[in-house]
Amino acid sequence: METKFKIKNLNLYYGNFQALMNIDMEIYENKITALIGPSGCGKSTFLRTLNRMNDLIPNVSIEGTIKLDNKDIYNKDYDLIELRKRVGMVFQKPNPFPKTIYDNIVYGPKIHGVKDKEKLDYIVERTLKEVALWDETKDRLHKSALGLSGGQQQRLCIARCLAVEPEVILMDEPTSALDPVSTSKIEGLLEELTEKYTIVIVTHNMQQAGRVSDYTSFFLNGKVIENDKTEVIFSNPKDKKTEDYITGRFG
């Protein structure tokens, strides 16, 4: 089993407030890692350190190292564009661009230099098939993406992310704004995606973490309390706090 991300001694501050404390973690290739914990525990913040989306927020300072395939992504020489190409992201709220379905998907590839129309067409078909949206959208590719349902929009956002051929996909509560049917479709999708991609998913939904993930990390107040195989965390947690959270005693 290959290690994709190796996080060592990570601390993150918003101004004077410390949001992440001494995080050590490994994220394995072609596995699904779930990050669970109550609101405000730092799991989304942690997720956003992995593709450096926190760089957008003023006053953030970060200590420690995050290595992707053994290279520190916070090194000055690390190419941010390349990082975000390799580490894609799907957000909590479906956020397709106000463009056509087709243009949403080809946006990333075009930015990274793909110009050939046939190749772009192929990318659109391949990614929409990967997220099981092709049959529903193949006759309306040139209609606005905003006309899709919430669940369809989120699958489109996943397809848009796949279109730049990332190695890792970060998902920040991707189903929290969706109905149960759309949620189960996306959960089913995750399993298929692990053949090619490494997935890190933040979720509020404990059952979801149990259903889909291989590894689970439990975050509390900016610390990782426990980090293990999902079945171990759910059946035999070592820490009392983990057990309390999983059994629903708080959070």
Binding site: N51, M53, L56, P58, I81, E82, R84, K85, G88, M89, F91, K93, N95, P96, F97, P98, K99, Y107, G108, I111, H112, S144, L146, G147, C157, R160, C161, V164
Partner: protein, 296 residues
């Protein structure tokens, strides 16, 4: 319903009526005073006649229309790129703590009386054009108008005057673009420039277009500043250094001493101005609707 609520409702109704009735009254008055000239003179002769000499009863307003349109167009050519670039800079590039000062400075521009702009143009811009720009043009065309009172001067001053409209409305439109779009674009590996040009500007398009149309309306209607610096020669211009007279400037200058028939002609100029601005408003509404409609 309580009694005082009814009273308030009536008061609001009356206020709304006052606004509407004023517009109606002004419209009726302008048309009543001016329509006879257009009718007697013939619409084509009036609008496309190239000679405006009210002293001899010749009312061809084409030079005035050309004057207004050339100055407005010039101001848009300068003002639109500057204004949009400024809006992007304020909302996307400059850190918030600085941009608020810049924003209030630009909004301050809107509060300066237009005669002050005109005076500034008269003492700074017109001489500057005369000393620096005219000699350059003279190398190519020795007959170019040498005074500096020109379309160029009017266009520059108007461009500054419409900046606050374009900047603040565009800036609001850009700031209203959901941050999710920006994050999605950056997370796909786009850089800041690509995100601004390909995602943020298109998403703010309808707001930016309305800012341009409102700016254009302001430019067409502006009187005082333009009057002071464009030279007021009712001639169809052939170069940007030619002096021109605008529709509004002509009305303002000539109304005070005009005998009745001339006065009617000026009201007829007012009708034309009215129609142009109405058309602009309609186009503005249609274009915003058209853009909004395309989304779905």
């Amino acid at each position: 319903m309580k009694k005082y609520e009814k009273v308030i409702e009536k008061l609001i109704l009356i206020s709304a009526m006052i606004a509407t009735i004023s517009v109606a009254l002004i419209t009726v008055f302008i048309f009543q005073s001016g329509i006879s000239v257009i009718a007697d003179y013939g619409v084509i002769n009036f609008i496309f006649g190239t000679e405006w000499s009210p002293g001899s009863g010749i009312y061809g307003i084409f030079p005035l229309i050309a004057g207004t349109l050339s100055v407005t167009l010039g101001s848009l050519i300068i003002g639109i790129p500057t204004g949009i670039a400024c809006a992007i800079f304020l909302s996307e590039i400059l850190p918030k703590k600085f941009s608020k000062y810049f924003k209030s400075a630009i909004e301050l521009l809107a509060g300066i009386p237009s005669v002050v702009y005109g005076f500034f143009g008269l003492v700074v811009l017109v001489p500057a054009i005369r000393t620096y720009i005219v000699p350059i043009f003279q190398k190519f065309n020795p007959n170019v108008a040498p005074t500096g009172f020109s379309i160029l001067a009017g266009a520059i001053i108007l461009a500054i005057m419409i900046l606050p409209t374009i900047v603040s409305i565009s800036e609001n439109a850009i700031a209203a673009v959901p941050i999710e779009y920006k994050e999605a674009s950056l997370a796909l590996g786009a850089n800041k420039r690509e995100t601004i040009l390909k995602i943020i500007i298109p998403a703010a398009k309808s707001g930016i277009i309305s800012s341009i149309i409102l700016g254009m309306g302001r430019a067409i209607g502006e009187t005082m500043a333009v009057l002071l610096i464009t030279g007021n020669m009712a001639k169809v211009p052939s170069s940007i250094l030619d002096p021109v007279a605008t529709l509004t400037g002509t009305i303002a200058m000539e109304m005070s001493y005009a005998p009745p028939s001339h006065q009617k002609a000026l009201f007829a100029v007012g009708i034309v101005l009215f129609v142009i601005i109405m058309l602009l408003n309609v186009i503005a509404q249609l274009s915003v609707k058209g853009l909004g409609g395309k989304r779905n």
